[in-house]
Amino acid sequence: MKARVTVTLKSGILDPQGKAIEGALRSLGMNGIASVRQGKVFEIEIEGTDRAGVETLLKTAAERLLANTVIENYRVEIVG
């Protein structure tokens, strides 16, 4: 089973890297970009077919290591 865990900064948390990327996109002449927030994507392969079990496992992984829930949100998706 393949899964994806997406970790993003919570709203209100300053993201200086996102701001720098936003500025770089504007300087490339890409108008209309209102804001950019940077995050992380983890592509994970898991053995087993129990979707509920896999979701629980990945939520635990996100809570315990992949995300710092003080500043970040996470989303778990099973993609195939």
Binding site: I13, L14, P16, Q17, R64, L65, N68, V70
Partner: protein
Amino acid sequence: MNSAVLVFPGINRERDMARALRLISGREPAMVWHADTALPAGTDLVVIPGGFSYGDYLRCGAIAARAPIMEAVRAFAHEGGLVLAVCNGFQIACEAGLLPGVLMRNAQLRFICRDVYLRVERSDTPFTRGYNAGQVIRVPVAHGEGNYIADGETVARLEGEGRVVFRYASPDGMIDPDWNHNGAMNAIAGIINARGNVLGMMPHPENHVEAVMGRTDGRGLFAGLVDHFAQAA
């Protein structure tokens, strides 16, 4: 004072720290590998040194914070043992839940390696008893992620309980955005936990302890700790 310095893969300031501890306490610190599960018997002070544990992968300090030795450190702190966490150590302590908040990327996005001025906010902790409250000390920083943030409630609690012990300041002790090199909230450079036995700080006091280094401003922190244990004995 018997010290234990934790060693994680990628840490590179553990020998500076050990040298400062040896010089000022007169005892050889134990170097404790991250995969160990126990601290040496009789440890008075645990030091989480600076460096780049696990190459700062994932988030600074995130992987080291989950190392086997950290369970022992958590138990040690829970029993009131003193923990000094410097630079990457501060990041590790926050990731491990020993201290609140997070060290984010410096506001200017640059790695900053230079001396800064710190205002010592209080002298009634085991870590700061070698200084006077309001005293300004000059110590080096070397970090890319030292911008302390926490939610409003946490910061209000830290301030209300007097748990901010070091702040970035001007040479005459004024809190000024121009002297807050990394953009930390309330110019926070170092905090203690609620019990007052865990200190996390971004600057490196261990690098200003000998005349040959140009300054000895960091010595007060270690001398104060030695004094604390001498008084307790």
